[in-house]
């Protein structure tokens, strides 16, 4: 079993050419970033030690290079990581006074046959093994995890943006409706009731808001790739920063279209309460 661990203590001391299969050192995996920064390749042999002096350093062979799982809590830190087989790691890090087999491990990842059983399995482990805390992966970040906090922050920014947009939208629709005062006046004079004109205004508002929302979505989809590419380049990570999902698109449309249509109707309402003659006069 291989385990991923933070090897802050481990230091790459030297890189040497690969050696024969006979007496070959144990295999390790290294992160892409570490391979790039140290110029390592598959087959390289490195020496790992637990301190800068290289005390007790041992040779390992790079068996592969991997892309680290993106971790938002370590954003900005270049992941220079090494993965060892657990027995190799314990042999390397065990202090002289510690008998083999009594070391600590930070955690055990469990893959269930049916992932839906995660909560029940956690409850079962917690009940049967006092002192061990089991949690489904989905709950591991807790309510105050960085993801959740950023989600709340972005939601707050979105609310402010919607408020600002609504205010501007109202100002614009008031001006646009005012511009069509004469047309509305004539429609009223030829006999169209207020309700009919209002329905027409509402339909126009819906079409304009729908077109605006569609344009916004296209813009968002186009900028999605640009934003992700920029931040992935900036932080040297595979983390996805922006993802336009179906739910996000539906939520945006569900807010934008009614908001736009309502703004049009609200702005028209004051105008439509006036008489046709008053509206149509020059």
């Amino acid at each position: 079993m291989s385990v991923r661990t933070l090897l802050l203590a481990l230091l790459i001391l030297a890189a040497a050419p690969a050696i024969d299969a006979q007496g070959q050192p144990p295999d390790i995996l290294i992160s892409r970033q570490l391979a790039t920064s140290e110029g390592l390749a598959v087959g390289s042999v490195v020496r790992l030690g637990t301190d800068a002096a290289g005390t007790g350093a041992r040779e390992f062979r790079v068996a592969g290079i991997y892309e680290p799982t993106p971790d938002p809590s370590r954003l900005g830190a270049v992941p220079r990581e090494v993965r060892l087989h657990l027995p190799d790691l314990l042999d390397l890090t065990r202090s002289p006074g510690t008998p083999a087999g009594t070391e600590y491990i930070a955690g055990i990842n469990v893959a269930l046959t049916n992932p839906a059983d995660a909560r029940a399995f956690s409850r079962d482990v917690n009940a049967r093994m006092p002192g061990v805390v089991a949690r489904p992966s989905s709950e591991a970040a807790g309510s105050a995890g960085p993801f959740r906090v950023l989600e709340r922050f972005h939601l707050a920014i979105a609310v402010v943006t919607i408020v600002a947009s609504t205010v501007f939208l109202l100002a614009l629709t008031i001006m646009l409706v005012d511009e069509r005062r004469e047309t509305v006046g004539i429609l009223r004079l030829i006999g169209l009731p207020v309700r009919r004109v209002l329905v027409q205004v509402l339909l126009e508002g819906l079409i304009v808001a729908g077109a605006g929302a569609a344009f916004g979505l296209v813009l968002a989809v186009l900028s999605e790739g640009l934003i992700n590419a920029f931040f992935q380049w900036r932080y040297d990570t595979a983390l996805v920063f922006v993802r336009i999902t179906r739910d996000v698109a539906l939520t945006s449309t569900a807010i934008a279209v009614p908001l736009g249509a309502s703004a049009t109707v609200v702005a028209s309402w004051a105008l439509l309460r006036r008489s046709g003659l008053r509206l149509a006069r020059r």
Binding site: L8, G76, A156, V160, L172, M175
Partner: protein, 399 residues
């Protein structure tokens, strides 16, 4: 009547659209102001927090204080550092998890900071906390606690606290220790949802039943003169350790943890300014288009081209200026709410703020709003400057 007065009357004549325009600018401006505060807020706040602590240099075994390895031979290392001519004092900081057992109720989990200082020529040594009430802890049986622990465990100065601390690993089963509370303190580097207590290294050893080892999470150092020179001297004397000045710690955090907020602030600032320019341009353009006849009449009456351009510019300046003034209190109000949200992140010190007011941010805010007013007015100004007077009057009258 000058251009500003004329623009003011134009806006007052259409109160609904003028009010909405100003409110829109105020909302966008508030967001813009907050993004500018966010861009440098963490850095300003962190620098202030580090400098207030009174320690110039942080010596660690890992990359950042509290995030790496513990340094070994803590006492002799601190003594060696304190003996350097450029060092005034050095303080060992050892962190442990403590489980406080109140008489009734659930145990309180707190971070126990054990400290031990070394100084040259009797220089004063201040621990990394501030006493609010009571006095400083000394000896192996005294501690200070934060207000949250005091209220949760119903503890007062002079009371006794029962706790189990684990200095080495989570699975230690140590006997409970009883320590006397001699003060209530503020721990500036404790997280928002983290309770903290402090005492001498001996008190921490007592809490951990002596199972501490000669290790430190961090060494705090005060220099006699220049912090950079002292840090260099420490690095030369102890090449295995990292000695970072406050500026270097802030710089390191800027490159890593704080970078995301700077980037998001830049993106949102750009989007917000573009949004404001676009919308004010549309507002002014529609407004000007509706008044083409009026503007042509004014030109015919003798208003110069420059004067009508000045009117449009003044109108833009009045909308953006009024909205900009409103955006400052709105932005500060909004920033306190956003700050509360972001401080929910685990591990953020309670006294660290994401949004911090500074004059540079205000100056940039004003500069961006001025630029917005000018850029937004360009197109409508072009319309009025190239307006054919006779043709427009004829179209307006006949049309």
């Amino acid at each position: 009547m000058n251009a500003v007065g004329f623009a003011w009357r134009s806006l007052v004549r259409q109160p609904a659209r003028a009010t909405l325009g100003v409110l829109g600018v105020a909302a966008v401006g508030a967001l813009l102001f907050d993004m500018l505060l966010l861009s440098q807020g963490l850095v300003v706040s962190m620098r202030d927090l580090l400098e207030r602590s009174g320690w110039d240099i942080r010596v660690t075994a890992g990359e950042l204080p509290g995030r790496g390895l513990r340094l070994g031979n803590a006492v002799s290392t601190a003594e060696r550092i304190a003996a350097l001519p450029s060092v005034r004092a050095a303080l060992i900081v050892r962190l442990a998890d403590a489980r406080i057992e109140p008489g009734t109720g659930t145990p309180i989990v707190a971070a126990f900071q054990g400290v031990s200082g070394f100084s040259s020529a009797g220089a004063p040594i201040t621990p990394p906390w501030t006493i609010i009430r009571g006095r400083e802890a000394s000896g192996a049986r005294e501690v200070v606690i934060d207000g949250a622990i005091a209220s949760a465990a119903k503890l007062q100065i002079g009371g006794t606290i029962t706790l189990r601390a684990s200095c080495v690993g989570d699975r230690e089963a140590l006997p409970p220790a009883q320590l006397h509370v001699v003060g209530i303190a503020e721990f500036p580097f404790a997280g928002t949802s983290e309770d903290a207590m402090g005492g001498s290294l001996e008190a921490l050893k007592a809490a951990c039943a002596g199972n501490v080892g000669d290790e430190a999470d961090l060494l705090l150092v005060t220099s006699v003169k220049d912090a950079n020179e002292t840090a260099a001297a420490i690095r030369a004397a102890l090449p295995d350790l990292r000695a970072m000045t406050n500026d270097e710690v802030v710089g390191r955090l800027q490159e890593t943890g704080f970078s995301y907020f700077r980037q998001i602030s830049t993106v949102l600032t750009t989007v917000t300014v573009a949004f404001a320019v676009l919308l004010i341009t549309v507002l002014l353009t529609v407004s000007v288009n509706q008044r083409l006849g009026e503007i042509a009449a004014l030109r015919a009456l003798g208003f110069s081209r420059r004067r009508v351009i000045a009117d449009v510019m003044s109108e833009s300046a009045l909308i953006v200026g009024s909205g900009g003034v409103l955006s400052l209190p709105l932005g500060l109000l909004l920033s306190s709410g956003l700050d509360r949200i972001l401080k929910g992140m685990p591990g953020i010190p309670a006294e660290l703020h994401f949004f911090v007011f500074d004059q540079r941010a205000l100056a940039i805010h004003v500069g961006l709003l001025v630029a917005t007013a000018v850029i937004a007015a360009l197109y409508p100004m072009r319309i009025v400057s190239s307006l054919p007077i006779a043709a427009t009057l004829r179209d307006e009258v006949i049309g």
